[in-house]
Symmetry: C2
Subunit: 493 residues, 2 copies
């Protein structure tokens, strides 16, 4: 493909994207396909000779697009959002057209410095303390691919810091603390690093929605220390996946600082961290606790922050803790500027070596929306979620399982009075399966909270309107009625 052929193919690709967004509402939210559908449609070896571009891209439109779950669909209320904004798309396009692996300042002067600048913009927008800004020269921000990677990097830095202070600690006694609502990547960090994980239960029925408190943490820490174990990192969450719960970061942080200062506190706000851009949510989202005590803080701009996937923002209080954990520089990576130490060498701030130029799309989004536009979008999502939650509360056959949190509502069908939880779960599984049967129209996801099976509704697509929330609610009601009617007054046992 020469440059002029690319121009033609590029315009055509842009047109296809426009067409996709014009027709997005006509796509089923979830493709109604069966395993093997695509494999059957494709040859089983690469072609010997190159194919004309139009054949290739037509196959994209014909075979691939109809086989995707459409996260941008206005009636997608599943999981957490995954972003694709036009500004972000253009940032990714340009970054990919002149790629820099940005392993050092020398290899990517502009990409390195733009990441410095944009992460400082974001830190200020969220109200993070100056110590977290790159310009403080103490801590700083770095873009990772995912909250999993951000967490893994933080746990590695925490482990290195702990073992430097306590070099005789047997690895087998190290403990990662998570809660029963920590995202699965907490347990996965334990798997990857071969470290033990202790799960602190925050799901007892009396406290659902409350998150981790200092007393629960203190009991566990005292117990493990008495047993000769070495908890070295605590993963707290602002806005858990299961219920949107918020750990009491301020209280648990204060406890760690006073009694267990060697324990690193990572704050995983992968989904909800972006609400800090709105001053009215800063108290609920624990900004003061984060600023006072977090060793690391993560929020995914690719989730609810309008930046295209992948863009996980990680800030650390002390960049040296990352560097001492992750730096290894062979001769072929040495540069004058790196040796002089007056540049950020991002390869020492993440797991790999080379990295895509992700700050460009973040810069485009923050400039294109501005702080006002960004706040407006967040507030709008929260308002639409409150609409939905109000409907749940106003309808006797449904109930909230935990308090609505930002743009997330967790609810279920009300079981018969006095029905055991097993029966209620069975009813709600049938309800969710029936909802899934309507997944071409609307998508919500399932979860469990303290043994209670329930359904999650999360607003996040930038194309969702109040009318879409209304439509979703109507389908939920319709399905709920059908399921209740099917089981009659008795409900299943």
């Amino acid at each position: 493909m020469d440059i002029e052929e690319f121009r033609k193919a590029g315009y055509d690709a842009i047109d296809r994207i426009c067409e996709y967004y014009y027709s997005l509402r006509e796509y089923p939210v979830v493709p109604q396909v069966q395993p093997g559908f695509l494999k059957k449609a494709l040859p089983n070896t690469a072609p010997g000779a190159g194919e004309p571009w139009s054949n290739i891209v037509d196959d994209y439109t014909k075979l691939i697009l109809p086989g995707l779950l459409h996260f941008q669909h206005p009636l997608n209320f599943s999981y957490f959002p995954i972003q694709s904004t036009f500004a972000g798309t253009l940032g990714d396009l340009l970054a990919g057209s002149a790629p820099t692996p940005s392993l050092s300042w020398f290899v990517g002067p502009a990409s390195t410095e733009l990441e410095n600048v944009v992460m400082d913009w974001a830190a200020k927008m969220l109200g993070l303390d100056r110590v977290f800004h790159v310009e403080s020269n103490i801590g700083g921000g770095v873009i990772q691919t995912s909250a999993s990677e951000s967490m893994l990097v933080s746990v590695v830095a925490a482990r290195t810091r702990y073992l430097l202070a306590h070099p005789m600690t047997p690895i087998e006694s190290l403990l990662i603390y998570v809660t029963s609502q920590t995202h699965s990547c907490g347990r996965k960090a334990g798997l990857v690093l071969g470290l033990n994980v202790r799960v602190l239960d925050v799901d007892e029925p009396t406290r659902v929605g409350g998150g981790l408190d200092a007393e629960t943490l203190r009991v566990a820490l005292d117990e493990d220390h008495a047993a000769g174990l070495a908890p070295f990192v605590l993963i707290t969450t602002v806005g858990t996946t299961t219920s949107g719960a918020v750990d009491n970061v301020a209280d648990v942080g204060a406890l760690l600082k006073t009694s267990y200062p060697d324990v690193w506190m990572h704050v995983d706000a992968a989904w909800a961290g972006v609400v800090l851009a709105c001053p009215e949510y800063r108290e609920r989202a624990q900004l003061a606790g984060i600023n006072a005590y977090a060793d690391s803080f993560c929020t995914n701009f690719h989730k609810w922050g309008l930046v295209n996937f992948e863009c996980s923002a990680l800030w650390v209080r002390d960049r040296q803790r990352l560097i001492e954990a992750l730096e290894y520089t062979p001769p072929y990576l040495r540069t004058k500027q790196g040796d002089a130490g007056d540049t950020v060498e991002y390869r020492n701030w993440h797991l790999g070596l080379c990295r895509r130029f992700r700050s460009l799309k973040m810069w485009f989004v923050l400039r294109s929306y501005g702080l006002n536009g960004f706040q407006g979008y967040i507030r709008n999502c929260i308002a639409m979620n409150h609409m939905f939650a109000k409907q749940v509360c106003a309808t006797p056959s449904f109930e909230l399982v935990s308090p609505p949190s930002f743009a997330l509502t967790v609810f279920r069908i009300v079981p018969r009075a006095g029905a055991p939880n097993g029966t209620a779960n069975k009813l709600n599984r049938v309800f969710y399966d029936a909802l899934l049967a309507r997944s071409s129209e609307v998508l919500l996801t399932q979860t469990e909270l303290g043994g209670v099976f329930c359904v999650r509704f999360c607003v996040g697509s930038s194309r969702t309107t109040p009318a879409d929330v209304e439509d979703a609610w109507n389908i939920v009601c319709e399905v709920g009625e059908t399921v209740r009617a099917r089981f009659g007054k008795g409900l299943p046992n």
Copy 2:
């Protein structure tokens, strides 16, 4: 930005990319900027109100592009290549416009199956045994972000397999084996996982360019076993970063199989693995050894394989070893298809959870180039490197430091006869610094091989022509002459 504004901005972005490639030769290969240049040019907070798109994108052209090291520049012979082809760029654009996090088949049916299909296409193109194909249902292929991540995943799977077989092994006794030419990500895997690394020396002057042999490995294994240590993974390399050396995968694999079957063999062919697409290089690149013995094999299509960054292809002999090491499925990630076990759930094949739709660009590239086009590009790069290496050999003031390998030549200025190595290194450092002073015209990188400071020349940009190699050689000669003249006949001490 609404859909029509996006169409306009999209066409404009495509035009800017065309303009970039038309004018690429006019850009300095390395931007002549100083640390802080971009920070100074940008405001230190995000704007309150959104800005017009044209301002934003003009800043990209004015401030960012001139601050990048241009990996696509025809006179970039540094490091290893980083790709951006037009087909790959369009794949990335479309994938980003309808993003799927592909954490399960349910969330990305088309993206999951396309990855299955394309990784099988690539496996067949490279001649990998059927056991590595997804369609074997035994092993399979998965796209990671980087060779670092591919290696990390492999080491994690190796450690899990070893500890399941030997559960009483103290973590402190586990050993990762790398060689003195293994890429830095081998040592970094040790840092990240908190495991000890033993470096097998393959750089003694008598064997430079030879790579790891079975005898060196046997001695180390016997020694460590006698000392009660537990080597559990060996990282071999086909085409090292330092010199392009190729480990004797067949011999070391046979040794492991007979005497140390619990040791996992990972083959890192991040750069050179793509040569397997050409049958005439399969023997040199150890295909038979890989097929007989490798537990995992990685090659980066984003390096020398025409696919846009990031696209690291990893194949494993037994997918269960990945899954047993990496699977943790909370209720909110369960799906009917995943529970049934008849789909590939890629979240259990890599470190994170969500993942970009990277197979689309790989599909576009393989179809657009075809096997013939792909082979032609590889052969062309190798031919151009041989041109350069021949010039080195034919010029008395230069010498090869190791045999040219595929598209890589490692060379230096010939020191005075009988000069100690320190003097030769000093001379060559001055030479490389002088070459760097011409980095707006051409870029090569430095390295060290068994204590010998030398210069690397690697062909890989799809825009490089024989005339560019000629130009590069002329600059190298000119700089070499100047440096030699400056030091007179005596050369520095």
